[in-house]
């Protein structure tokens, strides 16, 4: 079957000259090396090595899936981290050594599959092999002695051939030297086909994954209720292009987040306040269209638009904050997304107001949707919905760093004017309230986003944001297709038996002896039964009454 020479079913290799090193030329060496690489033993070794090599990536945080974990790990293990990093321990699955293993494995795979495919194509057209001289050593062997000559050998074999052919066997008739007739039959070529499809589809998976990673991209966008997003590079908060990304693939569309609804469990006391549904209601505008279409994005139900899939991956509150500076001018007024820190949405946020005069301002603090005071005087939130929203901010003067993003505040060089270490305590605000900053530095207003609501109803007072992941993966469908082929090939190759069956008819003084036997090619627990079945149907066809 042109399987690797150390395949269980192959004949043991002859110890030929290939082992005698010194006499090998370069071609001999190459051939020797290639044979080693495409042997079953190498494939097995590389598979096990791949399994082992995958382990460290589950022990050490990975940049690709858990970048914050890497930062944390580096902080916790300052001596170990550089060593881990040097051996690409934070990027195991793209590391040189991991890639080397799977690439070698796939080279071995290709080297193994190509000759087998060629061989299989030939086998598909070849006739079954000659009937062995002796069948009695083979599996399921049975013989039937037929009394005085009614049925002649050739006719008996003809009908056996018929039965076999109808059962899906490929058949070939042979005439032996001793005047015996036989039919040699083989079936289950699909087993090898399945095996080849399986292995080839694995290559397909690898290639299409690689292509998708190179031409696709993924980006993130945090979008507050009422705001919109246009599909151009600048509107993305973060953007991770593949190697061959080209921004002409960004199709023009726009969407607005009309509302973001969360449903909380209210009945079950064990899970009071657990979110049970998130729905982002959006309006999408394809191309330059004026008229929008209302759509929904939910967890487990992304939105497809303009070659993108848009996933809902996170949400939180974005209090609307207005800052007036020391001169009384509005220096900042917008919704600021605060990042949730716990299940009750105690959230952390940062504001930078470089435009404030005469002194630049920045703030960091917490938002509590349902604030309750702790013994320490601080707050916590005890419910994720807006029951008692409170904003608590520490305020700094000085020039804030702007290059570290909108969620981080580097306190270096800043002076706290309200907060734990300042004379003035943190600023605490409820929706609609304003507080003056100390020293005439200005004022902060926590705007009520729904001022028209009834007094005491704060349900709509703070807008929510949704964080969306926006992906383009042009080869995703191919990956799925190959994965399905992998599964189909696997099923075919594991559960379709490949077997040979022989029926031989020998004239023996006036009577006739019929012999039946089979040979399994690979795992075939049903062979015995199959041979018996052929024998019984044959007997029936010949009109034999068989005594056992």
């Amino acid at each position: 079957m042109s399987r690797p020479s150390d395949h269980y079913d192959s004949a043991p290799a002859k110890r030929d000259g290939a082992i005698a090193g010194p006499s090998l030329g370069p071609i001999g060496y190459a051939r020797f090396f290639w044979r080693q690489l495409t042997s079953m033993r190498t494939a097995l070794f590389l598979l096990l090595l791949l399994a082992i090599a995958a382990v460290p990536g589950s022990l050490v945080p990975q940049r690709s899936s858990d970048p914050n974990g890497v930062v944390q790990y580096t902080r916790d293990n300052p001596t170990l981290a550089p060593i881990v990093d040097a051996v690409q321990g934070f990027d195991v699955y793209t590391s040189v050594w991991f890639s080397a293993i799977y690439l070698l494995l796939f080279v071995s795979l290709i080297g193994c599959v190509i000759p087998r495919t060629a061989h299989h194509f030939k086998a598909l057209r070849a006739a079954p092999p000659k009937t062995p001289a002796r069948l009695d050593r083979l599996e399921g062997y049975a013989s039937v002695e037929v009394g005085a000559g009614e049925s002649d050998a050739a006719a008996a074999i003809d009908s056996a051939r018929d039965i076999l052919r109808r059962s899906g066997y490929r058949v070939q008739l042979f005439e032996g030297q001793g005047g015996d007739f036989s039919v040699s039959a083989e079936r289950g070529y699909l087993r090898e086909t399945g095996n080849l499809v399986f292995h080839t589809a694995l290559i397909g998976v690898l290639i299409s994954v690689g292509i998708g990673g190179s031409f696709g991209y993924s980006g993130q966008k945090v979008i507050v209720e009422g705001d919109s997003f246009s599909n151009v590079l600048l509107s993305y908060e973060s953007f991770l292009p593949g190697r061959f990304f080209d921004d002409s693939v960004l199709e023009p569309y726009r969407l607005t987040l009309d509302d973001f609804d969360v449903e909380y469990e209210q009945q079950n006391r064990n899970a009071y306040g657990q979110p049970i549904d998130f729905t982002a209601g959006v309006t999408t505008f394809q191309g330059g269209a004026e008229a929008g279409v209302e759509r929904e994005i939910k967890v487990n139900a992304p939105l497809s638009i303009g070659g993108n899939e848009i996933y809902l991956l996170g949400n939180g509150y974005a209090p609307v904050i207005t800052v007036r500076d020391g001169n009384g001018d509005v220096a900042f007024s917008q919704a600021v997304p605060f990042l949730p820190q716990d299940a009750n949405l105690t959230s952390l946020g940062v504001l930078k107001v470089p435009d404030a005069l005469p002194e630049q301002l920045s703030m960091r603090g917490f938002f509590y949707p349902s604030a309750v005071p702790l013994d320490t005087g601080a707050f916590t939130s005890n419910y994720p919905d807006l029951v008692n929203p409170v904003l608590s901010l520490q305020v700094y003067t000085g020039e804030p760093r702007l290059d570290d993003g909108v969620y981080a505040l580097d306190l270096d060089g800043l002076t706290e004017i309200a907060g734990r270490t300042a004379a003035t305590p943190s600023i605490e605000l409820r929706p609609g309230e304003t507080a003056d900053l100390p020293g005439g530095a200005g004022s902060i207003t926590f705007e009520n986003a729904a001022p028209a609501s009834a007094a005491g109803d704060l349900e709509q007072s703070v807008p929510r944001f949704a964080s969306l992941d926006i992906h383009r993966d042009p080869s995703q469908g191919w990956v799925l297709l190959f994965a399905i082929l992998v599964l189909a090939g696997l099923l075919t190759s594991l559960f379709i038996p490949r077997r040979r069956v022989w029926v031989k008819a020998i004239d023996s003084d006036g009577g006739l002896r019929l012999e039946y036997a089979g040979l399994a090619r690979g795992e075939d627990p049903g062979l015995e039964r199959a041979v018996r079945d052929i024998q019984q149907r044959h007997a029936q066809r010949l009109g034999l009454r068989v005594n056992e």
Partner: protein, 344 residues
């Protein structure tokens, strides 16, 4: 209503555990008794389903040590030609039936029915599939493992694995209920998907087949040690199939598990694409699912590689199942990742 269902489910869990315990003790006693060479307890009855199959498995032996059996024929009715069939038969003894084992097996069946009731009650109580957190996963996976073991008997007599399976189920169920119990809560939003039903269920099926495969492989290793004269005191091994046959059985069971596992991997990727926006991201759970898949792919290759049949491939099957258990316990509890649904 929910409350009654939940407490009924708990009552059923504890009852099932009680009966499993008795079954486990009896299975173990039976093996001990067989080791003591107590042949008298064995009534011998032919077990038709397993005889037919064992013909196929002992075929190698059969064609070696065949003694032809031929019975002369009488003349048939007019028109029919009389013929005589000669088929080699093996001299395999009729399989023995061990009374203690029978009782233990029946008790396992009983415990399983109660166990399944517990699973169903929990499901009805919460209105979604009972495998969305670690407790429920323990509850349901142990039921499926025992179920696969029980139904396997229609195909093969694997009752000698009874102590292993009932003991295993008892531990999973016990630890799951005592250490990981959580009350009924609404289904977390990311889990609200059709894929929870199919992906996790098939993963458990795969696990069940791997568990049986590991059991068979362990027995195979014991058997080959016994053949080498190194398993003193385990004379019950003489009453169960040979190492070769165990290896074939293990292979056939594991291959089914492997197909389920492959499906789990693909279905998981499809779900991850829907829920997390990427089909593969080397999340810890994904990593371990991949490792397990690769180990078993290695196992299948080992079985086809000269020099790797026998004990070596058996070790791979055991290591593979060890990785499955590791994935379910250590990875769930101690590794950080997106699959943080242990419910604790």
């Amino acid at each position: 209503m929910t409350e009654q269902f939940v407490s009924a489910s708990l009552v059923a869990i504890w009852s099932a555990m009680g009966v499993y315990t008795v079954a486990f003790i009896l299975f173990t006693l039976d093996l001990a008794k067989r080791s003591a060479g107590d042949a008298e307890s064995a009534g011998s009855t032919a077990d038709s389903s397993s005889t037919a199959e064992s013909l196929a498995f002992e075929r190698a032996a059969a064609s070696e040590s065949s003694s032809g059996r031929s019975i002369g024929g009488q003349l048939g009715n007019a028109g029919g030609i009389t013929a005589t069939l000669v088929r080699p038969v093996e001299d395999s003894p009729a399989p023995k039936v061990y009374r203690l084992e029978r009782v233990a097996f029946a008790l396992t069946g009983l415990a399983w029915l109660v166990h399944v009731a517990a699973v169903l009650l929990r499901g009805f109580a919460q209105g979604y599939v009972p495998w969305a957190n670690m407790f429920e996963f323990s509850l349901t996976s142990s039921a499926i493992i025992v179920g696969v073991f029980l139904f396997m008997q229609f195909w093969q007599n694997l009752r000698f694995l009874g102590a292993y399976i009932s003991g295993f189920a008892l531990i999973v169920l016990g630890v799951g209920t005592v250490n990981f119990y959580v009350d009924v809560v609404p289904l977390a939003v990311p889990l609200q998907s059709f894929w929870l039903v199919i992906h996790v269920f098939v993963a458990v099926l795969g696990t069940a087949f791997f568990a049986l495969g590991a059991g068979l492989s362990i027995t195979q290793l014991l058997q080959s040690r016994a053949a080498a004269g190194r398993a003193v005191g385990l004379r019950f091994l003489q009453t169960i199939p040979s190492a070769d046959k165990l290896e074939t059985l293990a292979y056939r069971v594991i291959v089914v598990g492997f197909v389920f596992w492959t499906f789990t991997l693909i279905a998981g990727a499809v779900w991850a694409e829907r829920a997390w926006g990427r089909y593969w991201g080397w999340d810890t759970k994904e990593v371990w699912t991949f490792i397990i898949w690769t180990i078993f792919a290695g196992y299948i290759h080992a079985r086809a590689t000269r020099g790797w049949r026998g004990s070596r491939s058996a070790w791979l099957a055991i290591i593979g199942f060890g990785a499955v258990m590791f994935n379910f316990t250590v990875v769930n509890l101690f590794f950080k990742g997106l699959h943080a649904y242990s419910g604790l």
